[in-house]
Symmetry: C2
Subunit: 465 residues, 2 copies
Amino acid sequence: MDVESVRRAILDQVDRLAFKHLKHSLETLVDIPTVSAWGDHRVMLDGASAVASLLKELGFKTEVASNGGYPAVLAEIRGGDKATVLLYNHYDVQPPDPLEQWDSNPFKLVEREGKLYGRGVADNKGNIAARLAALEALIPYIDRLGLNVKYVVEGEEEVGSPTLERLVVDRIEWFKADGGVWETAYVRRDGRLSISLGFKGMVYLEVRIRGALRDVHSGYSPLVPNPAWRMARLLASLKDEGGRVLIPNFYDDVDPEFLDMGEKLLEQVDVGELEALKEELGIAGFVGGVSGREALKALYLNPSLNISGLYSGYTGKGSKTIVPAEAVAKLDIRLVPGQDPKKVLDSTIRYIRTLGFEDAEIHVESMYKAGYTRPHEVIVEASIEAAEQAYGLKPHVTPMAAGSGPIYIFTDIARIPMTGAGVGYYGSRVHAPNENIRVEDFVKGVKHVALTLIEFSRRMGERRA
Amino acid sequence: MDVESVRRAILDQVDRLAFKHLKHSLETLVDIPTVSAWGDHRVMLDGASAVASLLKELGFKTEVASNGGYPAVLAEIRGGDKATVLLYNHYDVQPPDPLEQWDSNPFKLVEREGKLYGRGVADNKGNIAARLAALEALIPYIDRLGLNVKYVVEGEEEVGSPTLERLVVDRIEWFKADGGVWETAYVRRDGRLSISLGFKGMVYLEVRIRGALRDVHSGYSPLVPNPAWRMARLLASLKDEGGRVLIPNFYDDVDPEFLDMGEKLLEQVDVGELEALKEELGIAGFVGGVSGREALKALYLNPSLNISGLYSGYTGKGSKTIVPAEAVAKLDIRLVPGQDPKKVLDSTIRYIRTLGFEDAEIHVESMYKAGYTRPHEVIVEASIEAAEQAYGLKPHVTPMAAGSGPIYIFTDIARIPMTGAGVGYYGSRVHAPNENIRVEDFVKGVKHVALTLIEFSRRMGERRA
């Protein structure tokens, strides 16, 4: 049975298995509210156990591993000596807030007009379910392909993967692989799969300014310092109106090799998607008035600083008159290759102190650097070829995602070239209310994973032969 | 029976009736969560009905009146032709948020170590209960005093009394009186009662800035405008670090006659209270570094602008990475005599537009002007005399409270000179969690109200004689 016959035998099963896992796996996973930001260990263990069970059903040898954080599932199935691939996903999800903006329960998988709704269907539980379907089709032929599959599913991605690096370092032999598939990829408006070859780093900070020991009747506002005013002044000093970050040396260490590679890859990226994004979001223009290629560079190659959350005092209905006791801002800084998270954190803190906020309490929620893969790697070429077959169109390959993820743990520490695969689309509302995927993308996504692994085995086999 | 005998007969009953109404009236009132900001008409009607029943039990003729807003209770009892006094209170309360900072249910009256806890015990249900106790002692002698008592208890004070002016204008004959007692007064650290002869006006605004139609994954923050940054910039432009409001012409119209009168009264006010306030609130210094007499002027004679609430994006635990769809600030502007609310509102809106926030949505929650009474009025002198007797110390009289209230409706529209009375103290945590009063202050407060009305009748009788 040659690779072509194996390929056909596998593809024959893909549709059926896609629908099986939409029910069997995705429903099970969405049901469990694995919000890592909420910090419920019991729920997170339920999530990990559910993933482990689903993998066990397929024949994987599984282990639920933890070194202090929420557990990660390590699973392995061996099929020979041609190639070892590492799949990475996460079973944790973002909080569902604001809850009132959901049209259905975020923790129940609901189908409406060809779309599936629920927290995590795009990020990242749908991608787990799609890979399970692809693997179920593939596993009967795994020996013929000569493929070993390693699968790690962690539970802390949405809070910055604080213990994943430790796990990979401790088990560095287990994490050896010839190529890897990162947690995500998504379908663009033009129907092409968008694969990101890197992910930004992250420094997530909670900044707290305190005033009086308690809220005070705002009649006293002429005298009692208001932390909300001070927070407004602090935030207004961090970035200019054009979006440029004002923290000294913020842009200094960006890796020029990455910028070169990135700018070249971006030449092949079309900018139409950005115009459609404006319309979908109902915004008149982008920050700083950028457009076209400049906007692409800002999105994919620049570090950024953002306010994800801000609160102080009374946030309920109607009016209440107080000088609030505290003001809190949640800030996310996204890093590109070359930037050191610790150094960026230090200069951010130093700058905030220089501005006169010696008393601001700065708590680091997560911190990790960016990582990326160069486009000529076997796993990347295999996934590009597979995407063209599964989606009928050449994929769209960007040097870096707009988003962050601790991919450096694989690319830089375990030294595994990484590509992407996923079932979300441009309208998936990742991290937002009414997160959803399209059923058709799920089926294509299953096909893409199966074909990527087949193509990867074939190419690695040819290399070794 | 001369006034002195009446006085002694009334005072004999005061302690007993104070304790009776602590249970009978205050418990009943605190039980009903009459939060006017929440907008529950049924609950507010329950509150008004409870007040009306309590007054009816004392022999008042009562009416529950409404012209579109939450109902007000109008009650009257007639005792002759020497003097008519108008009592004003409100049965509505501030929201109890943040709930988790209360040590007991805010809507259950709880006694702990000589203090009574519950939302509204100081502002303003405790004052209603104290007046009911004083009135129960007084009513048997009302004919001998020649006193008519009118009592209005509204349900919209905490949301800016939007329909009270209309009620007073429509019923201007009913609202005729020789003097009035405003809703509040409080006991200072030095044991003296603090009476305010005026209350600031209010312009309460909710400012909303919108960005994208929905929250967006913050990977897009280099492109998608973030309303939280814009709000920070807007707020930072409204006030300088020294606390000076930057809205053009903000300070222009302050009444010089009021300032003269105010500065003279403040000369008799001691500044020790302010130092104690700093310590109690755990703050190193006041806004702009003011202290002593300058701080008193800032507190009592200056208009102010404050952020009472601020929110945008994710305000839950841990991290979520989004570009928020909107940012909201709740601003309270407190006006002093001479300032026109409409004019201040207009220049505030114009200034916000000039700053480049043409799209900021500005919603007016409430708007009214300041009002005050000159210190030589009979009702003021009566209440000062009564306070010296009830508290054993000369009261502390300020030209204006730090807080706001629609007293202008009485002082300027109904033309009634107004004094103050109340049972709260410096540690009452008005508008904040664990609002409380001291039992001893309640008893003294009952005495003060009774003596004020006796002394007022006596002085008015002498005048007419």
